[in-house]
Symmetry: C2
Subunit: 328 residues, 2 copies
C-alpha cells in the first residue's frame, strides 16, 4: 500500500481516507496484501454487524442515483452515518464504474458523514460480490450505521446483493406494473420493499396506481420473512415527498425482523453461504486458469455442444488433465 | 459387472437386460467401471438424440404414476418405444426409490416396448441428475424414441430435470389454480405444458376452470421458446380422456421447436451446462471429502455463523488446508 497502512484504530476513528485505503487493500489481488487484509478484516468483524443493510436495485432510467441521494440525505439528517457501495459486474473490464459514483451523487459526496465507493472490478460476479461484502464490514467497523448496496441491474447481481443485505428494495417507474403482465416476477420475488419513484407532476396519479398494483402483487408472493410482508411506497426523489415514508418503512422492517430474531438468523445463514460460494468460485477459478484446462477447453466445449462428446466424458477429460497437472 | 459385459451391439439390438446392465455400469462409482462406462457412453452418443424428451413433475397425490401409465400406454399404441426414468434425490440414502417404480406402473412394466428405471441413488442431486442424463443417452441408443423423466418434486430437482428435457410438463390437481394465488410461480415458469389431471366425475367442471386459469397464467410468463407458447390441457388418467390431446400437444411442440431450430440449439446449450455442473460438483466433492477439510469444517462453519470469522477468511483457511494437502 502507498503511504501509511490502514489500521483498525484509524478506521474506528472514522477516518474516511483510512477506510478508503482499507477497502483498496481488501480489493487487492496481490499475495502480500492478502495477509494484511485478513488481519484487518478479522479486527473489523467484531466491530461490524450493527448497521442496517439495504440493497437497492432498479432498471436504467428509474432515477436510482437521485433516489439514493434523496434517501441518503434524509438518513444523514436523522444523525446516521451512511456508506453507499455499488455492485456492477459490467465494470469488470474497466476496473470500476463507468460513471464515477461521486459525479452521480453530488450532494451526498460532499457530506462528511457519507462514504461512497464505486464497484470493485473483477473477472466475475462472485469476486465483485465478495469484495463488496468485505467492504461492507469495513464500513460498519468505521462506524457507518446505514449501508446501501446498489446493484447495477444485470440479472444475477440482484440475487447476490439480496443475499448480502437485510432489506432488498426495488425501484420501479410509474406505469411499469399497472397490470400483472408488467410486473417482472424474478426480481419482485426478492423485494422486501417496492418504491415507485417519480411520483410527481403529471406522473403522480400513475405512480399511485402502480403502487397499488405492486402492493397487490407482493401479497401473492411467498413471503421471505415470517415477521414482514413486503410493502409498496410511492415517492418523488426530486421533490423529496414520500422519502420519509420509505425510511420509516425500512425502520419498521428492521424492528420486525429483529423482534422475531430473523435478522440475526438470516445473517448467520448468509455468512455460511458466502463462505461456500467463495470456495466454489475459488475452486472453479483454479480449474479454469489451469494451463492444461485452458489448452483443451475450446475444443472440448465445441465437441460437447455439437453432440460429439458426452458432458460426463468431457468433464472427466478436463478433470483428469487438471488433476494430472496438480500431481506433476 | 456380473455376467456378460453390456455391449453397444446388445443395446442396439433392443435387449432390455443389456440396457439395464449398461445403466448399472454408468451408475457405478467403482474406478474400474468408469473406463468401461465411458467407452459405452461414447459409443451410445452418436446413436442418441432422436428421442422426444419429456420431463414430468407434479405434487404428491396428483396421480403422476397413473398419468404416466395412461400416457405411456397411448404412446406405445402409436408404435413408439418408451423409457421412463426417475429423478428422486430423496432416494439417496436408500439407494433407490422407496416405492418400486414397477409396482407403481403395473401395466407399463409388462409391455415389451417399455423400459422403466427407478432413480439412481447418490449423495447429492447433481450426481443423481448426471446419472439420469447418462441413462437417457443409453435408452436412446437402445432405440427408445420417447423418454419420460419423472421428478419426485423436491424443489431443485424440477430445475435439473427441466434442464435435461425438451418439454417440461407439470401435472396439477383440479381446483389448485383457480385464482392467481393458487398458482405456484416457480415451477409454473418452467412448464411448457400444464396438465390438469382427474378431469372425471364430479371434478370435471373444476378441472375445466383450473385449465382455463392456468392457460391465462401461462400467457403472462416470459416465454422459454420463441416458437412455443405454453398450453394447458385437462385429462383423466383413469378414464383415458384427454390423454391423446396431451400427446398431440407434445408432438405439436416438437414440430414447432424443430422447425425453429430451437430444440437442437437448446440441447447444445444444455450439454455444455451439464459439463460445467459436473465439473463444479466434482471439484466441490473432492474438497468436501478432503480429510483436512473434514477436520476443520464443523468449527469453521460454526465460527462463521456466529460472526466470529469472516466468510472470506473461513474460505481461505479451508482452501489453504486443502491445497496444502494436495501438495503433500
Amino acid at each position: 500500500m502507498d503511504g501509511s497502512e490502514p489500521t483498525i484504530d484509524a478506521l474506528q476513528g472514522g477516518d474516511r481516507r483510512a477506510l478508503a485505503r482499507a477497502i483498496t487493500l481488501v480489493e487487492s489481488t496481490r499475495a502480500d496484501h492478502r495477509d494484511e487484509a485478513a488481519t484487518l478484516l478479522a479486527a473489523a468483524l467484531p466491530l461490524s454487524g450493527d448497521a442496517v443493510r439495504v440493497g437497492i436495485t432498479g432498471p436504467p432510467g428509474v432515477g436510482k442515483s437521485t433516489f439514493i441521494e434523496a434517501l441518503g440525505m434524509h438518513v444523514l439528517s436523522l444523525g446516521h452515518r451512511l456508506a453507499v457501495l455499488t455492485v456492477d459486474p459490467s465494470s469488470a473490464r474497466s476496473g470500476g464504474s463507468i460513471l464515477g459514483d461521486k459525479t452521480r451523487m453530488v450532494e451526498l459526496a460532499k457530506q462528511p458523514d457519507a462514504f461512497i465507493r464505486p464497484s470493485p472490478g473483477g473477472r466475475h460476479l462472485g469476486g465483485v460480490a465478495r469484495r463488496t461484502r468485505d467492504a461492507m464490514l469495513l464500513c460498519e467497523a468505521a462506524g457507518f450505521d446505514v449501508v446501501f448496496v446498489e446493484t447495477i441491474g444485470v440479472g444475477q447481481s440482484e440475487v447476490e446483493v439480496a443475499d448480502m443485505v437485510d432489506l432488498f428494495c426495488m425501484l420501479v417507474n410509474p406505469g411499469s406494473g399497472d397490470d400483472l403482465q408488467g410486473i417482472k416476477r424474478g426480481i419482485t420475488e426478492l423485494a422486501d420493499l417496492v418504491v415507485v419513484n417519480k411520483s410527481d407532476g403529471d406522473l403522480t396519479a400513475a405512480a399511485g396506481r402502480t403502487r397499488a398494483a405492486y402492493a397487490d402483487a407482493l401479497g401473492l408472493l411467498s413471503p421471505r420473512w415470517q415477521a414482514w410482508t413486503p410493502r409498496a411506497v410511492a415517492c418523488s426523489s426530486v421533490e423529496g415527498t414520500g422519502i420519509d415514508e420509505v425510511w420509516d418503512t425500512i425502520e419498521s422492517f428492521t424492528a420486525a425482523v429483529d423482534a422475531s430474531g430473523e435478522r440475526q438468523q438470516r445473517r448467520g445463514t448468509q455468512a455460511r453461504s458466502w463462505m461456500w460460494s467463495e470456495i466454489r468460485d475459488e475452486l472453479l477459478d483454479d480449474f479454469r486458469s489451469d494451463p492444461r484446462v485452458v489448452d483443451r477447453l475450446p475444443l472440448v466445449e465445441k465437441q460437447v455442444e455439437a453432440g460429439d462428446l458426452t458432458p460426463t466424458e468431457a468433464a472427466r477429460q478436463l478433470l483428469d488433465a487438471f488433476e494430472h497437472d496438480a500431481d506433476g
